[in-house]
Symmetry: C2
Subunit: 337 residues, 2 copies
């Protein structure tokens, strides 16, 4: 029988539609040939993007002679405007905040590689350390409440360029979905004096939704997976803010991330996917900015393969229909080692 | 400058990204030729679907000799299971409700027409009256808390068949997004003794976001439009439950709906879109079912063209980026008369 499942953290529901029971092979994607051999994100084309705001030097001679390993540039078509002050006003029943914010592109490799998982572990670690650097740097901008770091890979996931890259959008408000997590985590902490994500890990590891783990990190399919083969990667140790991650931890996380992205490719071909880093908001004394305590949040990465289209039901209800139970997805991903 | 706008009803935000400023012509869709001339939803193929649960007889000889004008059948691949009782249980930090519910397809015409807007006004009215019939009928099923009626038109909006149809999913819980509207509407009613949608209409009509109106109904682009060319159609009179609409009102609404869907085609070609009927939940005495009062909700139809892909930012933040200010969309739609 199908099931309606509530997310363990927030009040979000999903329909696990077992009757539509799709097997991994139903989703296998035909690998698209690369359409290009170089692009504006490749080394040698630096003048075709806005000037970089951050550059990571070559990692142990792995960057094939390029002058950089990771490069961060402002988005040429930013969703928000980098300059200006943040104003807020009522507009009748609506409310308006000036669209001030930061929109950056994190170019993950100087070569024309398409997948983060093709890079070496030190190169993936350099990307993760770049996320940390941007969070630390933008945390000093008093206009920003939050920086959301995410990846769109493949056209079906919203990517317009195939060269491996992630994006960062710094916002003057905490995104609604993050705020829901923060509120739920705080309520749990007040009730139990424990982190809800730590409790969730205790419940899930070991278990039928576990995909892979290292000493410090876990990858699992969430109980109320919204997307077929959705995975969460969490630190096993309590840490609320990704900006606190150590170099050693980035290397360990890079190994696990590369591993689980490769498993996704093994099971599904080369599926379009997004991943999103959920981390603490910038600590701010101002009203209207959600802050968090060290104790009551737990950063994590949510990986969402994009195997089906969002239709009217999802837009209207806020419920997603997932034809693949997360237990089956986890099993397929475990066996893909 | 871009703007962050809060929805007038619920605590949802959108980025109106004026810098990406897309003109209607940037979205114009190449009209797809129909791939078929008949299908399982056409008259004469009735035995290829599950037996109907409801049939509307031909409307004034407009059904081209077919034995029906509108036909309602169970979905062959239902998201929920029609039989069984509703059970709920805790699963660690998660929660489980058995996936019992109703999934129906409303076939809007016996001929192989693709668009509701191609039908005559009496035929569109017959579809709307069918929605009313299903709400009244399913409201008697004590297992259901809500019935969500929606349309997916075009592959980009999640439709798998091109023959004009809508769907209904009856659920054992009130969908989260509807619940947010009900909660916001109730809070407003408690504070002001007025319906928030009636207040919103008072604020918006006349105004720069008005698209079209009749004596009884209004079509407008919402202040915090999540999608380019998103439109809401609302009754000007207060009515919380679509099941209360009269025959005269369905005919008037059908005329306006046909009009605004035709405007959408004139401006954008033949865009994929969804529409979703937001109406009151079934009145239930049980705990856990959200009920509403006659005074504190206002049904409406939300039309969401699907012109861009949902990417990592939207999935992670719950914020949507809309490159077309609703004022510009409304102007283009008004001028498309």
């Amino acid at each position: 029988m199908p099931e309606l499942r509530k997310d363990p953290i927030v009040d979000e529901w999903v329909i696990i539609a077992t009757e539509r029971g799709k097997r991994p092979s139903d989703f296998r994607i035909q690998i698209q040939p690369r359409t290009q051999t170089s692009c504006v994100f490749c080394a040698g084309h630096e003048q075709e993007t806005p000037p970089e705001v951050h550059l990571v030097p070559p990692v142990n001679g792995q960057s094939e002679g390029a002058p950089w390993a990771v490069r961060v540039v402002p988005n040429k078509f930013p969703a928000l405007q980098a300059s200006g002050a943040v104003h807020t006003q009522a507009e009748g029943l609506g409310r308006l905040v000036s669209g001030v914010g930061i929109h950056e592109v994190i170019i993950e490799t100087p070569a024309h590689a398409r997948d983060l998982s093709e890079l070496s572990v030190p190169s993936v670690a350099a990307v993760l350390a770049t996320y940390r650097h941007r969070l630390r740097t933008l945390g000093a901008d008093p206009r920003l409440a939050y920086a959301l770091i995410f990846k769109n890979q493949g056209r079906g996931a919203g990517a317009s360029l195939e060269h491996a890259h992630s994006q960062l959008i710094g916002l003057p408000l905490t995104p609604p979905l993050i705020k829901k997590e923060l509120q739920a985590a705080r309520a749990h902490y007040h009730a139990h004096q424990r982190c809800i994500y730590c409790d969730y890990l205790h419940q899930e590891v070991p278990g039928p939704r576990l995909v892979a783990q290292t000493d410090g990190f876990v990858a699992l399919t969430p109980y109320a997976a919204r997307f077929p083969f959705e995975m969460w990667v969490l630190p096993r140790f309590h840490q609320h803010d990704f900006a606190r991650i150590t170099d050693t931890q980035t290397t360990e996380l890079a190994g696990l991330l590369k591993d689980v992205l490769q498993r996704l490719c093994t099971v599904l071909g080369n599926p379009p996917f997004n991943y999103i880093l959920h981390t603490a908001p910038f600590a701010r004394p101002q009203p209207g900015h959600w802050t968090t305590l060290e104790q009551d949040y737990h950063w994590h990465l949510e990986i969402t393969p994009r195997l089906s289209r969002t239709a009217g039901f999802e837009i209207g209800s806020g419920l997603r229909i997932n034809p693949t139970p997360p237990e089956e997805a986890a099993q397929a991903l475990r066996e893909a080692a």
